[in-house]
């Protein structure tokens, strides 16, 4: 199977637009290896080297780049909540030097609850594992709470803001005797993904993710959320427009338009659940 990486997909996008790397465009990559201090340092180094455009993969890199420059154009890819985190003034009119794509979808919480209810008709108590310090979390949680309230589903929240919080949060969720757990994916929670999978398996808990297709392949039950791989070609398109003279502040931020439903049948069987045919027919990937 072909291998991919964000920069590879971004480069593919530039090629499709007619750029020839090394001849008509130069692309450099800087990786912070998950170290926030290194990320800040790299952002400063990049700005000092005065590139024509900075492409920042996801929210943390975008924030670091934005902190380092307010003049060099920045194209963000699937940054969670760029308005809430102050990266842009609005999605329609970003202003400043940042534009690109966001991974946030206004009514994704409603969809999550509806899919879980379809999967577990008797769903009465839903656990949620969020990191409230992530700017994407509050609107998604509010949206989810609203949908759950409408369907008479009680919501139990186990918050984490640091790795040390997982013991207490998972303990709270375990003691609540949930029917299902929804995991709000973001960096801190993603880094603790294996631990969450263990927790779900030990407690026989159906687990749903928003951007968690990888964890569903590893034993999670279901994920429904935006397909982020499409964002890199879109980033190339933004870069092209900016190099041709467009002002990043005038280019509207794009929201996800493609979504994927991934279901793990092995996990469903282990949990004694039957996945409804209606859901299976809509699945983009079924793990058997």
């Amino acid at each position: 199977m072909a291998q991919g990486s964000p920069t590879m997909l971004f480069r593919d996008g530039l090629t499709k637009l007619g750029y020839v790397e090394g001849k008509t465009i130069l692309v450099e990559e800087s990786y912070a290896d998950g170290d926030p201090q290194r990320l800040t340092l790299l952002a400063r180094e990049i700005v000092d080297s005065k590139p024509d455009v900075i492409v920042a993969i996801a929210a943390a890199a975008t924030a670091a780049a934005r902190q380092a420059t307010s003049t060099i154009p920045i194209v963000m890819t699937h940054a969670g909540n760029p308005v809430g985190s102050g990266l842009v003034a609005s999605l329609a009119h970003p202003g400043g030097n940042v534009t690109g794509t966001t991974s946030m979808v206004p009514d994704l919480g409603v969809k999550q609850v509806e899919v879980l209810r379809e999967l577990i008709p008797g769903l009465a108590k839903l656990g949620v594992l969020p990191n409230p310090t992530n700017a994407s979390t509050p609107p998604l949680l509010a949206n989810m709470n609203e949908a759950a309230h409408r369907l008479n589903i009680a919501v139990v929240v186990g918050e984490v803001t640091r790795p040390e919080d997982f013991d207490q949060a998972l303990g709270t969720l375990r003691d609540a005797h949930l029917d299902a757990l929804f995991v709000m994916m973001e960096p801190l929670i993603g880094q603790n993904g294996p631990r969450i999978l263990d927790f779900a398996a030990t407690n026989q808990l159906p687990t749903s993710y928003d951007v968690g297709n990888e964890f569903v392949r590893q034993g999670g039950l279901i994920s429904y959320g935006p397909v982020l791989t499409t964002h890199y070609a879109i980033a190339a398109d933004y870069v092209d427009k900016i190099l041709k003279g467009a002002n990043p502040g005038d280019l509207p931020v794009q929201q996800p338009t493609q979504f994927a439903l991934v279901v793990n049948l092995k996990t469903a069987k282990a949990l004694g659940l039957t996945i409804p045919q209606s859901l299976l027919m809509r699945a983009d990937e079924v793990v058997r």
Binding site: M1, A2, Q3, G4, S5, P6, T7, M8, L9, F10, K23, T24, I25, L26, V27, E28, E29, S30, Y31, A32, D33, G34, P36, L39, A43, I46, S49, P51, D52, V53, I54, V55, A56, I57, A58, A60, A61, A64, A65, H78, G80, S103, M185, E186, P187, G190, Q191, G193, Y209, V211, G212, N213, E214, F215, R217, L228, T229, V239, L243, E285
Partner: protein, 79 residues
């Protein structure tokens, strides 16, 4: 009266044009000025090297990560 006529004649000579003449456009350089201007392209010479635009990609995750093309790991893309 004679003094006034002399003054107007002198003014016309100094300004270089009569009342109905249009001034020369400042954007039209003379041939000599074009030759003297540094960096001007001479006919028949090679085209100057155009600046290649440079894009820097900043990623907070590790560099060695790759994944099946259609299945990115969420913790990488979200980081």
């Amino acid at each position: 009266m004679v003094h006034r006529c002399l003054f107007l004649a002198a003014l016309i000579v100094v300004c270089g044009c009569g009342p109905n003449e249009a001034p020369k456009k400042a954007t039209e350089p003379t041939a000599a000025a074009a030759q003297a201007a540094p960096g001007k392209q001479q006919p028949g010479s090679a085209a100057p090297q155009a600046k290649i635009p440079r894009v820097s990609v900043l990623i907070s995750a590790a560099g060695a990560v790759s994944w099946p093309r259609d299945h990115p790991p969420c913790f990488f893309v979200m980081a």
